[in-house]
Symmetry: C2
Subunit: 252 residues, 2 copies
């Protein structure tokens, strides 16, 4: 399963980041750094804003990594993107939020984090076990997160979170009041040290394996929405919003 590991989106010590950074300056891309240039499968890495933003905008659950007592912690949470900022959801009592500092000032040391968003697009089945792989799109963001305290920024961030989950929903629900905003914590992470990585296409078997009788190819996979289940306490006659039946490519 040589190709399956996206687990090599990491740094290296070489001259390529500098060259790539020069390229980035000429285009609309994030400048690669030591830790955003993969050690392996570099051809799968990309830094352009359009690709990175499209992958981020296609999701709503990220995996937030931080360090606690020297050990890593990885937790799923909701996120939203507003321009070149990522907002991550938490509660005022949760550990990463407390660790990010209470004041929310940029002068606070903040919390070093890694935020990763992954979409699985297909299972790549080769004739050999070794060449099995996954088609995926992934963005990894490194940086320091700070608490958002400005009420307007926090409100916009929470709208972005809700609209990431279901576009159009933020405007179609009762906005948070002052008490609710105070009880919700939001972390801000600037999109600066960012890379995307992806794999597409079919399996790449060894020539000597091609005559083997095993099936090979790609099994597409995608999240699909089911039939909405209304609350028991729905006001009778409430219409079902159009955004509950998202259109788009479905593998079904």
């Amino acid at each position: 399963m040589r190709e399956a590991h996206a687990a090599d989106v990491a740094g290296r010590e070489a001259s390529t980041p500098a060259a790539a950074a020069r390229d980035a300056a000429r285009t609309s891309s994030y400048a690669p750094t030591d830790r955003t240039v993969p050690t392996r499968a570099r051809e799968r890495a990309t830094y352009d804003h359009e690709t990175v933003h499209a992958i981020l905008d296609a999701g709503y659950v990220c995996h937030l990594g931080f360090v606690r007592d020297g050990a890593p912690v990885v937790l799923p949470t909701l996120y939203g993107r507003v321009g070149d900022r990522l907002y991550v959801h938490g509660s005022t009592g949760s550990r990463p939020l407390r660790m990010a500092g209470a004041s929310g000032e940029q002068t606070e040391p903040g919390l070093p984090v890694c935020v990763t968003v992954t979409h699985v697009d297909g299972l790549v089945l080769a004739k050999s076990a070794f060449h099995h792989s996954i088609n995926y799109r992934c963005v990894v963001v490194h940086g320091t997160a700070h608490q958002v305290l400005d009420p307007d920024e926090k409100s916009a961030a929470l709208d972005a979170l809700v609209d990431h989950v279901l576009p159009g929903r933020a405007a179609d629900s009762r906005p948070g009041n002052a008490k609710e905003l105070a009880a919700t914590a939001v972390l801000r992470l600037d999109l600066r040290e960012v890379s995307a990585k992806m794999r597409t296409g079919g399996p790449h078997d060894e020539p000597e394996d091609l005559a083997l009788p095993y099936w090979s190819g790609v099994l597409p996979v995608a999240p699909v929405y089911g039939t909405p289940i209304p609350s028991d306490d729905l006001v009778p006659g409430t219409p079902q919003p159009a955004y509950l039946t998202p259109t788009g490519d479905s593998p079904c």
Copy 2:
């Protein structure tokens, strides 16, 4: 969005872990520790083997967290479970594998990791933005990962990885040879410090919001497999295996 954050699966300093550990000794459960007892929504946390294993067995992509130069790194990668061990895929050249130590001996310090597996089951839409949430199942594993060097254990681990992706596939592909096994690295992580967390059910709106005209309820979501795409180089007449059309509940 008070309920949406699974981002509080973390430790705390209190007496409950000891009491919970005593409970665990009487049942088939992982003993809770400071870092597997959540700071919030404790009623959503569980430690029993059956629940933890079912969540792990329902997936194949985890998010692997480790610490590099004091900063967190979170990467998606494939995993498989064999009994009370989790195996995580990598390549011999990738950073986390190198950091885990070359010899694979338990005497090596190994690599402190956090492995998180998350399934999103539904979008929970409340009348108020604040009470929006996600239905999910999540397992967080803390521990120290070691490289697997024993060829038999490595081979079994890679079979488990392939069968996690698609049950039955490992036996229906050409097994890895010595060269391929040597080029593939596998990390082993004992399931000891483990917790599961989940949310199910509909939204919980405030009583004063119930008369609002917004739609509320749950939009189920699940990964769905599409039509298999055979390789161009498939041997003509190769039948399509039954495991390519997984049965089970589909939200479609």
